[in-house]
């Protein structure tokens, strides 16, 4: 495959849609083409990430290793899809194992080149960050669909009160001490001024325990960031209730449907009394599309949260699968 053919292929990749020809050609030059044979293991769950892969043709199988030597296939990926980006983004091991299901051609993007793509301050880097957030949201939805499927039963009926009114009822409170917020791992290494720009974009509220803040299957009214306390992210199917994750200090919830316009894939219920930063939908849209330091911090914070949530979502799946 020539650089030109690689660039033509990249133009068809949804993640890179709208990229300028010159940018695609530059990306094509740093990609390494490989043919991988049926049965070949591309990486195992937990392996350190060295590269992300664009699948050009063929198919790969994605599977989750479970305790007691068991494996379950979670899905397959084919032409145009990206693999391995989660571990490259958060620096931890691969979340799942990948092997070749049908002999395939892949284009490999090394760790440093991947980081370069995202590090720029040009508009394309902002667009790519937002697309990656959408991609991760899609991955999260896929995993939650699998999890819900393994629980059986239908989703809960929509609540009588919508999420907007549930948030509007909460008691306003002053913002937290900035030194406290900066200690949260979510915000490490962020520019303090830009971080403060993001943290002063919404309203701070107190929330009692047991309050449903986001209902599964309905659009979310706001991005919510836990400052104090804890909020459970839960899936309910029939009489089974699974806690998928816990949004403690520095963790967010309610943003998935704001990113992709779909219904909320999870319910969010306060477990402890909490202080929350609530950024309404319209302000979220403005922050999310800003292409300056504040927008960068905001999208990076969302990306960090999504990466944690995607990994958290695998935990109950493994527990359920191992208890069957």
């Amino acid at each position: 495959m020539s650089d030109r053919e690689a660039a033509d292929f990249l133009a068809t990749v949804p993640l890179l849609e709208g990229w300028a020809e010159a940018d695609l050609a530059a990306l094509a030059r740093v990609l390494r083409r490989r043919t991988v044979r049926e049965g070949e293991v591309l990486w195992r769950q937990g392996d350190a990430a060295r590269e992300a892969l664009f699948v050009v043709d063929g198919a790969v199988s994605i599977s989750l290793q479970l305790p007691a030597d068991r494996t379950v296939e979670i899905g397959r990926a084919g032409p145009g899809q990206l693999l391995g980006e989660i571990a490259l983004l958060d620096g931890q091991g691969h979340t799942m194992s990948v092997h070749v299901a049908e002999t395939a051609t892949v284009l490999a993007l090394g760790r440093l080149d991947f980081a370069d793509l995202l590090a720029g301050r040009h508009p394309a880097a902002f667009v790519l960050k937002r697309r990656l957030a959408a991609l991760l949201t899609g991955r999260l939805r896929d995993q939650l669909r699998y999890l819900a499927g393994s629980l059986g039963g239908g989703p809960p009926a929509p609540p009588g009160r919508d999420a907007a009114s549930s948030l509007a009822d909460l008691e306003p409170c002053p913002p937290p001490d900035s030194r406290y917020v900066r200690r949260m791992a979510t915000f490490h290494d962020f520019d303090p001024l830009a971080l403060w720009g993001f943290l002063t974009s919404g309203a701070y509220v107190r929330c009692p325990p047991g309050r449903t803040l986001v209902a599964e299957g309905t659009p979310s009214a706001a991005y919510c960031l836990t400052i104090n306390g804890a909020v459970e992210k839960v899936l309910v199917r029939g009489d089974r209730r699974i806690r998928v994750g816990l949004a403690g200090p520095g963790k967010a919830f309610g943003y998935e449907s704001l990113i992709d316009g779909g219904p909320s894939p999870l319910a969010a219920v306060s477990r402890e009394r909490a202080v929350l930063l609530v950024i309404p939908h319209d302000v979220f849209d403005q922050l999310y599309r800003r292409e300056d330091a504040v927008g960068r911090v905001f999208v990076d914070a969302i990306q960090r949260d999504l990466l944690v949530t995607v990994r958290q979502t695998l935990r109950p799946y493994a527990r359920l699968a191992s208890s069957v």
Binding site: A68, N228, G229, A230, R243, G248, R315, P316, A318, R319
Partner: protein
């Protein structure tokens, strides 16, 4: 500035097929002893204030009495522990490495080492966590603890009081409780702590990860009071922000397979390990205990009964 005495330790419990203690304490690349000086899930804190274990071996003399070992020396340099760990193959183990605040006020002493087990009782307990402002609430616990048990408290830790509180919730603190009774006693002890904290206006994060055992059964909690709330002047926030970790591996037996330590398949399961951190850097065969949960495990003919439930106290 007001100081808070925080203890962030590491705990380990095992129940199942006879297993050399060294497999759990020394042999793996993130063994409990390694977690004393190089914990993977605590970036800024080490556990250097001593080691303790209780190990039940049904083939030993008086099998209901566990082997007991406690020392304030660093377990990685403790040859006696290493020799013992190579000889013992119990069916149940509770072990603990203790971490205390780096402060001249911390008391490093044999009497503060976990697991706690008062003479004549059949239940042992180890704790990973700390009750903030414990000094202010300690004496309000007296009314909830059997006087004979309160009199046996020797050390200065909140953990020993939690132990006495759990024992006091049993019908017979000196008997061997059924697993359900032990689980209920543990939950009741947490309810009492919540009430006492409320009465004293204590409303900041206090993790209470417990391993409680009779040698035949295990009860473990991954729990925190008021998670996510911290005193304004807290200096060591990073250790508290994440929910204190607890993991488990369940299956047939813990053994080396393909050059790696792992829990083998087993249906029904015959062995379970519960630990603050996976005992191997490859955590793919380990499961994270859900936050606010209680695990119970009991040896029964043919295997192990195991259950996870939400802990709403």
């Amino acid at each position: 500035m007001r100081r808070y005495d925080r203890r962030m330790c590491r705990i380990l419990a095992y129940l199942g097929e006879p297993l050399p203690v060294r497999s759990l304490l020394f042999d793996t690349d993130n063994s409990l002893v390694r977690q004393s000086y190089s914990p993977r899930m605590m970036n800024t804190f080490l556990n250097l204030a001593g080691f303790g274990m209780k190990a039940w071996d049904p083939t030993s003399l008086r099998p209901d009495d566990p082997f007991t070992y406690r020392a304030t020396t660093l377990p990685s340099f403790d040859r006696n522990l290493r020799f013992l760990a190579s000889k013992l193959a119990p069916t149940c183990l509770v072990a603990h490495v203790r971490g205390v605040t780096y402060s001249g006020e911390a008391v490093v002493a044999d009497t503060n080492l976990h697991p706690f087990q008062f003479t004549g009782t059949r239940v042992a307990l180890a704790h990973n966590g700390h009750l903030r402002q414990f000094a202010g609430m300690r004496y309000s616990l007296v009314e909830h603890v059997e006087p004979a048990l309160a009199a046996r408290i020797e050390g200065t830790t909140d953990s020993e009081w939690i132990y006495a509180l759990v024992l006091s919730q049993l019908d017979d603190p000196y008997g061997v409780p059924e697993t359900r009774e032990l689980a209920d006693a543990t939950a009741n002890a947490l309810r009492i702590l919540r009430r006492v904290r409320a009465a004293h206006g204590i409303d900041t994060s206090s993790p209470v990860n417990l391993c409680v055992s009779t040698g035949r059964a295990l009860v473990a909690t991954r729990f925190s009071f008021d998670y996510g709330w911290y005193p304004r002047e807290d200096e060591m926030l990073e250790t508290d922000l994440p929910f204190v970790s607890l993991w488990y591996a369940i299956g047939g037996e813990y053994a080396v397979r393909d050059d790696a330590w792992r829990m083998t398949a087993g249906e029904p399961p015959r062995s379970v390990i519960i630990a603050s951190e996976p005992l191997t850097t490859d955590s793919s065969t380990w499961l994270e205990v859900p936050e606010y949960s209680m695990l119970t495990a009991e040896l029964v003919p043919g295997g192990l009964e195991f259950e996870t439930r939400d802990l709403d106290v």
